[in-house]
């Protein structure tokens, strides 16, 4: 028995030695993350949308957007189809900013995590200078970021086209390039500017903004979409859902 344990331990050490170079390769370079650790604005806390959900759900400024023909067709499709989160698919970004659930910003040296209560999604924004990369298109895209003065600027690409831009069903394609500028104009207020550049869906870039209130006494809880979702297994659910 002791001999077997010794062999097992030896095998584990051998495997860890083989895997070590791969893990090291994935680790962000120390020099790249060092400058960000020096000083950055405090955006941390639990935040919740300012004002009513009914006002926040639609990102389009004034309801008029420069659709391309493809984008307009996709908009019509979205009106016919089920809201993707009724199927418990991730809402993605920037739609997360239009949902009536809180999120927490956690700032680490070289990284920012945004923990959304909806579906317990965590968005990992790296600040270490590495370029965008994703083997597959993603629901929340691939996010890099940097601090510019008091603002965190998040640059996101590598999206799939399975999510809506907002809770009003505005479409996007896999060409979406999203830039979010996150700042904290006062202790209790978070401001997010959302710049959308998606030439396949919109003939020119456009912007929206959202404001969030600090919820100092809230903690992020858990929402499991599959637990009590009337529409999850309803193939014949009405199209107006």
């Amino acid at each position: 028995m002791t001999k077997r344990l010794t062999l097992l331990a030896a095998a584990m050490i051998l495997f860890s030695l083989i895997l070590a170079p791969a893990n090291t390769a994935r680790r962000p370079p120390k020099s790249a993350s060092a400058p960000q650790a020096a000083k950055f604005p405090d955006l941390s806390g639990v935040w919740y949308m300012h004002g009513k959900f009914g006002v926040n759900r639609d990102l389009s400024p004034g309801g008029d957007l420069p659709f391309t023909p493809w984008g307009l067709e996709r908009m019509k499709e979205n009106q016919r189809e089920l809201n993707p989160d009724l199927r418990c698919l991730p809402p993605g970004v920037p739609r997360m900013w239009t949902l009536p659930f809180p999120f927490e910003i956690i700032q680490l040296p070289g990284r920012v995590l945004i923990h959304y209560e909806q579906d317990s999604i965590v968005r990992d924004i790296r600040l270490d200078g590495r370029a965008h990369s994703a083997e597959l298109p993603l629901y929340t895209g691939d996010s890099t970021g940097k601090y510019e003065g008091d603002t965190l600027v998040v640059d996101t690409t590598e999206f799939n086209d399975k999510t809506w831009l907002d809770s009003a069903g505005h479409p996007h394609s896999d060409q979406l390039h999203l830039i979010e500028r996150i700042s904290r104009p006062s202790h209790d207020v978070l401001h997010v500017e959302i710049a959308i550049d998606d030439p396949k869906t919109y003939s020119k870039p456009w912007k929206a903004e959202r404001v969030f209130d600090l919820k100092a006494d809230w903690e992020i809880s858990e929402i499991v979409c599959e637990e009590n979702n009337t529409y999850l297994n309803a193939p014949d659910a009405p199209a107006d859902k």
Binding site: F53, D64, L72, Q79, N83, P100, C225, N228, P238, D240
Partner: protein, 128 residues
Amino acid sequence: MNGRWLLSIALAAVAMAMISSSLEAHHGTSTFDMSRTTTIKGIVVDYQLINPHTELTIKVEQDDGAAVEWNVESVSATMLLRVGWKRDTVKAGDTVSVTGHPAKGGKPAMLLVKAVLPDGRELSTAYE
């Protein structure tokens, strides 16, 4: 030029119409007539404080004496907990009065706006 203007206006009108209808396109709210509210009073049959939609079933006696079970849907348990709802806020057998947005098409269902509990307390939904 006139043709282009007409096309632009037509496209804008189509876009506006779609966006208006899309305002209904969120988790379940399109099922309900958000422009109306109705109030029912009855006996709690079931109450589940659960994600992503809390459910309350209430048996309401109609004028003709027949009882109808209403399904009262609400938002996530996480958000209701933040405005005072608890797992034992109501239990089967309690008499409650509930106000909400009624289902389209006349089904006995509504989206919760507020409830008056057996002890007279009033609890609202977390957001609209």
